[in-house]
Amino acid sequence: MLQFRLNGEIVEIAEVAPHESALVLLRETLKRCGTKEGCASGDCGACTVALRDPGRGPDARFESVNACILPAWQLEGLDVVTVEGLAKGEALHPVQRAMVDHHGSQCGFCTPGFIMSLFTLYHDPEPLDDHRLAVALGGNLCRCTGYRPIRAAALAMRETAGVVPDWIDQVQPFTSDASNDARAFHRPATLAELDALLKRHPDARLVAGGTDLMLESTIRLADFPQVIDLTRIDALQTIEQHDDGWWVGAGVTYTRLAPLLERHYPAFARLLDRLGSQQVRNRGTLAGNVANASPIGDTPPVLLALDARLRISGDNGVREMALSDFFLDYRRTALAPGEYIQAIWLPRLSDGEQLKVWKLSKRRDDDISAVLMAIRLRLDDGHLRGVRVAFGGMAATPKRALETEAELEDHPLDEAAVAAARAAIAREFTPLSDARASSDYRLTAAGNLLERLRLQLAEPHVATEIH
């Protein structure tokens, strides 16, 4: 039995397949067809709904998610708000009123998704500005309006009259029975339960945010016999702080990680604004990005540059390894069957150390890198020290650029060093040409990012970035 609270009322569904998405559940089983399918791949935002975990108490906030790639079972125990839940009869929610007043809809198909993204912003106490709007709405595509009227509606919504449903302020946890052994979507609450499940179902798929795994179901139409969900395990939800760094639990979403990054790795935090969309960041995790081992994952190059470590759990207990030993080949990792990533170690930057992260893509928001460069370095009397460079999009795996590092280490970052590093990049990388960029672009741009670095360090008055 799957239970959650939909627009203020508890719903119960007897049977839900483990591969089923929340969108299919809403539209086909519950006949709530206000939420639309635009792509079924988490790229357009038409299916955006808002979730809140009442278990988090009065501070619980609504978060936008793409229902199309959210496993339906992950709705369990949550407050779920869809576009149908906002208006009270003819009385519109201020977000809806503002969108009507500002002519924010044309064909209307993306509109429910925008309404829900705006809804989460409306009920979030943070002030609104253009940057925040861009971050929150980058994952909602509109093909008609050109966004100007939507921006106007967003900026006006908090001053717009309207009716807010009374249940919105009631954060009431409720218990749902998650202990049904017969079902195929398992939601362990402890690591011990997880280990037991893994023994029983060695072929089960592990899911946290689901932002990648679910594509196998929605696009490639795979049925998952067994799924084990990591999101209910408290031990995976923690960020442990140590003097020299942090262990970030495998279940920590990008959104929850963001404040830490902003304080300690501002360049990484800026990258996060461009990683997927708000809907994806609200579900996705660092560990998922690493375990997925995509050559174009955004965070692995950064983690490689930081010299991140992994805590891996499996049959033989827990082991640790450097991330640089983790990626073996295209989509192949050092994870043995039955193993999973428990946590990722982020080393604290020491005084004088800098981290730069640059992502190049066709579109600024909600796009996948053509090239991503992360570099960690220290300047010692004008000389580069402790250089670690890693690239995404340049090889079959996210990859450290060891020869490039060697060309830079202990040198002043002058034009000669950039030229030598450029040559090293060309030696150690043979990138592909694909839909996102050509091999030529990737090589040239990667070298140019080192020139950007040189300019930023040597000639800081020169503008080198447009965003």
Partner: protein, 818 residues
């Protein structure tokens, strides 16, 4: 008899000049239903199609047994199951519904699976095995034209000017007669072109564009009225869906009804391309006797349906020291895909817009329709016009940089003006708006000051460069297929006074229904709430034209107005007689009839009461209207005529910033001034202008279609195909409608069409990117910048600028190849 019910209460604010979209509240509450949202008929089946993986091959054995045995599968259909014609080509044949004997593009439909759920149907499709006998596909349109591989013959428009131009740009013989203008043999235009003091020439590739309507293609067919079928379709052209379904099934048209309530976006992609879905769903419903829904997953949609035509363009322009054009030779190659579809009109429209807003003098424009083994390219907002304008806009920047002039000055000098007012296909420009519109925008956008600031900025900034450009748009309004310039409407008044209208146009988000309701309400003097438009249905208004060519309101609002005027006359005649009113005094306004009696007394009668009296007196309270556009006609053999009733104008100034090390860029500001005549609804029109500009920006920048060497599309989802997102729209976005210039032709309240023209305003952003890149060569060199101008193309264009040894480069307009 019991009394009839009264009028609904009036809502406040109904007299607003810009009422919201009639579905706005439905959109924001999720109550506005699209086909996939409707309550499903019992026993509904779902359809999925198997696609060809080959671009060109003989089709061998289709092994479908495993598909038939898959769980949930009810029926598997191939070409052999089609009772009527296996053909859904819009104008010319060439588009089989299901492949027969051969495949002509990767993504072509081979067979259809009908199953109890969509997932079951899609999963079963994967179980098919297909034998192909591979052929070598045609994938290069330029090579295709060289080899004579075209879907339709080439077309040439040619015009020779009678006399050289003097320095002021006015014809020396100001009264050149039409004989003189037409008399020139083929050679004359070239003589004039070659006699010009200077020339620029170049080539460009202009990429295609995926429509990416947020609602994918969908149709639902169900048995209807004993022996017919009803097709719910997300189509801009329900009459064509009706016709093609009838032909595929071998049935008369009156047994098929096609219905469109609304689309989640169309943009041209649902003009001809929606028909195949309707026909397949109908075929399946006919075979099974059950309702069948066919919703295409995004990837299937992107592989199966045609796109905006990519173009390969060449130009050679002759001009004088002032940058004034004397002659032009422009060659346009449209990549049509495997079949004609709408490519006749698309390439023609590209040719009609090769001049954009400029007088070309002696000009020859050639249009080729290349056949390639890709999805058949189709209508897309602008319909070839945008691609056709690109060469001349490219050339004007080339000319300016060659002469060291500001591109705006060169553009202004060449704009159509009195005396320089005949296009290369012989239509005269009659409403001269573009000069003053450009000047107003130049002032309002502070163009000259910003030009100076940008030059200063660039001189001091080695990496980040800024660019600025103003480009105009002149866009011809009317279908170039003359017979399509007609529309019908049906208006009914019910006995409570509420009004229901239907017309041949479809609602895809552009606010057409809202505008037509406004027109009917205005003619009947009613608050807008009393007028409603329900779904477009072929059994209400027959033989409709597609909602396309920006003509939706021009045609359908005129037809609806005709119907409303008929009803108004009937009501006036009835009331005059019944109440002894002075015939000239009657007026419907604010929901009542106002008049003066024959005795000279003032008379008022509530609308609902009037309607009820008329009904009791057996007055017909429904009427049809029909409209056809006057004055138009184009003689294709002579390549001359007046294809367009009028032109819509606009201009935009875009300012961009590029990072010359990465190729990344953004539009930092856009100023637009656009001509919609007397706007029917300024808010809706602004929405079209803004949305068109951003969609055009996507076409020219981030939206890149790629095919692999086998001719398979590799950008098949929004993960790899990037339409503009929220942050791609400039935050500083200043958009205004030109005021005080009603349409000089008689259109609906002197308004102008607005759907397509603003799309081409985005050319200013592309020109601004080139401007920024050319700053690297001190504005002396012309970068080649094919489109979409992705960061990759921008970076390589910047690099090409840098690689030229500036010291050795004289002031040439060399086009730098990348």
């Amino acid at each position: 008899m019991r009394s009839l019910i009264g009028l609904p209460a009036r809502r406040a604010g109904s007299d607003n000049a810009s009422p919201a979209h009639d579905s706005a509240v439905g959109h924001v509450t999720g109550r506005a239903s699209y086909i996939d949202d409707l309550t499903e008929p019992s026993g509904l089946l779902h359809l999925a199609i198997g696609l060809s993986s080959r671009a060109s091959a003989g089709l061998g054995r289709l092994a479908l047994d495993a598909v038939r045995r898959a769980p949930g599968v009810v029926e598997v259909l191939t070409a052999a199951d089609i009772p009527g014609h296996n053909e859904v080509g819009a104008v010319y044949p060439g588009d089989p519904l299901l492949a027969e004997g051969e495949v002509r593009y990767a993504g072509q439909a081979l067979f259809a699976v009908v199953a109890t759920s969509l997932r079951a149907a899609r999963q079963a499709v994967a179980l098919a095995s297909v034998e192909y006998v591979d052929r070598i596909p045609s994938l290069d349109p330029v090579e295709a034209v060289r080899q004579g591989l075209t879907v339709l013959p080439e077309h040439v428009q040619c015009r020779a000017t009678p006399a050289p131009l003097d320095r002021t740009g006015v014809l020396a013989d100001d009264n050149g007669t039409s004989e003189q203008r037409h008399a020139g043999p083929e050679g004359d235009w070239r003589q004039a072109l070659e006699a010009a003091p200077h020339h620029v020439e170049g080539e460009q590739f202009i990429g295609g564009q995926e429509h990416f309507y947020l609602e994918g293609q969908i149709a639902l067919a169900e048995p209807w009225d004993d022996d017919g079928l009803r097709i719910l379709t997300s189509s801009q052209h329900p009459s064509e869906v009706q016709k093609l379904v009838a032909e595929v099934l071998g049935l008369p048209l009156h047994r098929i009804v096609a219905e469109v309530r609304r689309m989640g976006g169309g943009f041209g992609g649902k003009e001809s391309q929606a028909a195949a879905l309707g026909a397949l769903a109908a075929l399946a419903a006919w075979r099974t006797g059950r309702a069948v829904k066919f919703r295409m997953p995004r990837e299937t949609d992107m592989r199966f349906t045609g796109k905006r035509h990519p173009f390969h363009n060449r130009y050679r322009i002759g001009f004088d020291d002032d940058g004034l054009i004397h002659g032009a030779e422009i060659e346009l190659i449209g990549d049509c895909g495997h079949s004609p579809d709408l490519s006749e009109g698309v390439v023609d429209r590209a040719m009609f817009h090769a001049d954009n807003a400029y007088y070309l003098g002696s000009a020859r424009v050639t249009g080729h329709r290349a056949m390639t083994h890709t999805a058949s390219n189709t209508a897309f907002r602008g319909f070839g016009g945008p691609q056709g304008m690109m060469p001349i806009e490219n050339a004007l920047d080339d000319i300016a940089r060659r002469l060291g002039l500001d591109p705006l000055d060169v553009r202004k000098r060449n704009l159509y003006a009195p005396g320089r007012d005949e296009t290369h296909y012989g239509q005269r420009i009659e409403q001269h708006l573009i000069q003053s519109l450009v000047e107003q925008l130049e002032r309002d956008s502070d163009y000259r000051t910003r030009r100076q600031q940008i030059r200063q900025y660039n001189a001091a900034s080695p990496v980040v460069k800024r660019g600025l450009a103003l480009t105009p748009v002149k866009f011809g309004i009317s279908f170039t297929a003359a017979h399509l310039n007609q529309a019908g409407a049906l208006v009914r008044i019910y006995t409570d006074g509420s009004v229901l209208a239907n017309h041949g146009g479809t609602e895809m988000g552009q606010g057409l229904h809202t505008k037509v309701c406004q027109v009917v309400a205005r003619e009947l003097g009613l608050p807008l709430e009393l007028v409603r438009i329900s779904a477009t249905r072929t059994d209400k208004v027959p033989n409709t034209s597609p909602t396309a060519a920006s003509s939706g309101a021009d045609l359908n609002a005129m037809a609806a107005r005709e119907a409303a005027l008929t009803l108004r006359s009937r009501l006036y005649a009835f009331a005059a007689e019944r109440h002894a009113l002075a015939p000239d005094s009657l007026a419907l306004a604010d929901g009542e009839l106002r008049a003066t009696t024959l005795e000279g007394e003032s008379f008022r009668l509530d609308w609902a009461a009037l309607v009820q009296q008329a009904y009791m007196a057996r007055v017909a309270l429904f009427a049809e209207g029909h409209y056809s556009t006057p004055k138009i006609g184009y003689d294709k053999r002579a390549a001359r005529g007046r294809p367009f009733y009028y032109f819509a104008y606009g201009a935009a100034v875009s300012e961009v910033e590029i990072d010359s090390l990465s190729g990344e860029y953004r539009v930092v500001r856009a100023d637009i001034l656009h001509d919609v005549g007397e706007s029917l609804n300024p808010a809706i029109d602004l929405g079209q202008v803004e949305g068109g500009y951003i969609q055009g920006l996507g076409w020219l920048t981030s939206e890149e279609l790629k095919w692999n060497a086998e001719g398979q599309l590799t950008t098949v989802n929004p993960s790899t195909y990037k339409i503009p997102a929220f942050d791609d729209a400039p935050i500083d976005f200043r958009v205004a409608l030109l005021e005080g210039h009603p349409n000089s032709e008689v259109t609906i309240y002197r308004s102008k069409a607005v759907g397509e023209p603003p799309f081409m305003l985005a050319i200013s952003a592309w020109a601004a990117l080139r401007d920024a890149i050319s700053s690297i060569g001190d504005y002396r060199l012309n970068p080649r910048l094919d489109t979409p101008a992705t960061p990759e193309r921008v970076l390589f264009a910047c690099q090409a600028m840098r690689e030229i040894d500036m010291a050795k480069t004289p002031r040439v307009a060399a086009q730098v190849q990348t």
